[in-house]
Symmetry: C2
Subunit: 121 residues, 2 copies
């Protein structure tokens, strides 16, 4: 998967850093994939970058959104709320979730050697 | 490593998503570790969460800073500038770097079952 390439700022990021509990990987993986698909269908969704987990179960997912209203609507979406409750009840040892307004963005790509300052678009 | 626990917002996040080129892992790893140590010594540094890379070399590092002035000072720091140049010349296939103002934050911890809304501190 290439990195998310987005329109010029401003837009919003949801930075979700988490540590999994042990086990239940199949059910967790299925639900996580379902939530990614569902998020991508929401109005105002711009993209997502997500990592694998290390041996301690730590990983980061950053999703990008047009505005705060889109993030709020996704937060209240019913299936997502149920998944979040499962996460707290069972799947996560700990997590931090941060909502942030992206103000500047830069891209680098080796194929064309381009460095882009997205602020100056 | 536990997840970074920070003071209440507002503060700033630098979201760095990258895909490594193949090879040169020892030199890259040493420089990346050195840059993490150096960042942590800068005025205004609050913390960092960083993942392992997947089979495609993709990983995410999010560092947290008191304000934009601290991020600007770190950007201009000489050793960091040299490392960034090496990154573009050799180590990264592509990357995106985003500077974002964290407006809301939530923590969850299983040991005490606590869910904290950091906005309401």
């Amino acid at each position: 998967m290439p990195l998310s390439r987005l329109p010029s700022p401003p837009y919003y990021a949801v930075i979700f850093s988490s540590i999994r509990t042990d086990g239940d990987d199949v059910a967790y993986g299925a639900k996580a994939a379902e939530m990614s698909r569902l998020a991508a269908q929401q109005d105002g969704y711009l993209g997502e970058d997500s990592t694998v987990r290390d041996e301690n179960g730590m990983g980061i997912t950053v999703s990008y959104w047009r505005d705060e209203a889109a993030i709020r609507a996704w937060k209240l979406q019913l299936d997502h709320t149920e998944a979040r409750n499962m996460g707290r009840a069972k799947w996560y040892q700990s997590y931090t979730l941060r909502v942030a307004r992206v103000e500047r963005a830069y891209d680098f790509d080796r194929p064309d050697g381009n460095f882009q300052n997205r602020d100056q678009d």
